[in-house]
Symmetry: C2
Subunit: 112 residues, 2 copies
């Protein structure tokens, strides 16, 4: 099983070990538009790596969710990078339809 | 004072009210490269709005920090948007030099 043999870098797994989620940013692989930010626990990250589908942890629902599981607007993950202190993951994705549940392409559709 | 009159949208301020930080993503305004992700509390967000300098909350140091305050690699903030559920902020920035403390332009320099 990919889930069992993949070794997550220490910088990231330290956060999971202390019960902290990491921020996962999904970015359009073609336009570089930032589409959404959601949360990952260890299981969500391993499932994303194994399936190449954007998979997150819902803080409000307390469960794993696969992007598009109800809307059909799934995310094919083409590349994954992580930041210097391991508390953020950047996904380059091919996004089917809208990334936002509001129907907007990006969740960041409002300016301050 | 700008800090006192600016009204933060409810979707965001709810997180601050419950003691939760929001994820702040800094993106190069020209290339759309994602440069870094850091955290903001209410004060950091208000200071960013007022000064147009990327300003964050350090979880490890337990204090506000202004990007570039020690390195000189400051961030001029050109636009700020926020996501549908208000737990993430997207900053379009003009980044002076490296965004990462390692000297890398972006903190996301390692792939999984």
């Amino acid at each position: 099983m990919a889930n069992e043999i993949y070794e997550i870098p220490t910088e990231i797994s330290e956060h999971f070990a202390s019960g902290t989620l990491v921020a996962a940013i999904a970015q359009d692989s073609v336009t570089n538009e930032v589409l959404m930010m959601a949360w990952m626990n260890r299981e969500a990250l391993l499932q994303t790596i194994a399936t190449k589908r954007g998979t997150y942890w819902s803080r409000s629902r307390g469960r794993i969710w696969v992007k598009g599981e109800s809307s059909g607007n799934s995310q094919e993950v083409l590349a994954i990078s992580y930041d210097c202190d391991g508390d953020a993951i950047l996904l380059k994705v091919k996004q089917e339809g809208a990334a936002c549940h509001t129907g907007s392409r990006s969740c960041f559709y409002r300016e301050l």
